[in-house]
Symmetry: C2
Subunit: 122 residues, 2 copies
């Protein structure tokens, strides 16, 4: 039906992936592998958003194909791991997507007559 039962998530997956990769990790540029991305999203949202692999991998491949991501495969503890990191263009797109999403939320708040959020608790 919907991604992890949340219909609103539709169309936001690329933005989530790009944003996570744009954050500073232990390596510069930051790199993450697919499984790690799903776990990070699950942890940060306390299980509210769970990316399925069937959704994630096609997105990663598409972003790579579009030149926003590059990959490096490494063997870690006997298993193959494919790390993804942003290209310069990917970094730009990440910023743009997040800005677009903020704007979208603002527009939706107006349309649905919702109050501005004052306390979030996160």
């Amino acid at each position: 039906m919907e991604p992890s039962g949340n219909e609103f998530l539709r169309g936001t997956l690329k933005t989530i992936v790009l944003k996570l990769l744009s954050e500073q990790g232990t390596s510069v540029p930051n790199r993450m592998y697919g499984y790690e991305i799903t776990q990070a999203v699950k942890e940060r949202t306390k299980g509210e958003i769970v990316l399925s692999f069937g959704a994630l991998y096609p997105i990663l491949h598409k972003l790579e194909q579009e030149g926003l991501l590059t990959t490096e495969t490494e063997e870690v503890e006997g298993r193959l791991r494919k790390y993804y990191s942003l290209t310069p263009q990917g970094t730009e797109t990440a910023v743009q997507k997040v800005t677009d999403f903020e704007r979208f939320m603002d527009t939706m708040r107006g349309l649905l007559q919702l109050p501005a959020t004052l306390a979030t608790g996160h």
Copy 2:
């Protein structure tokens, strides 16, 4: 591509339609026709969100089929107009969807590390 060039709108269309119909208009229960809905969305969002008819009508028909909307057709100024209004179940769903969307925005703000919105300007 995306609804009115906005990929994030995916999955929010039902919520928008239900919310608009749930607001108090001149009639109780409030009723609107398809074209009116697209215009209301366009005006409220200053053109940022434009619903296409190809997206709107299937949604209206589906909501009717699900028992969330009822319709009445009237002739107004020589043209046929089909008014949609919420059933009791539709009213419940409208509230639920808006609540779900607020929760979703909160989750996304946490995930994307966005600040809480203090001033909106709308």
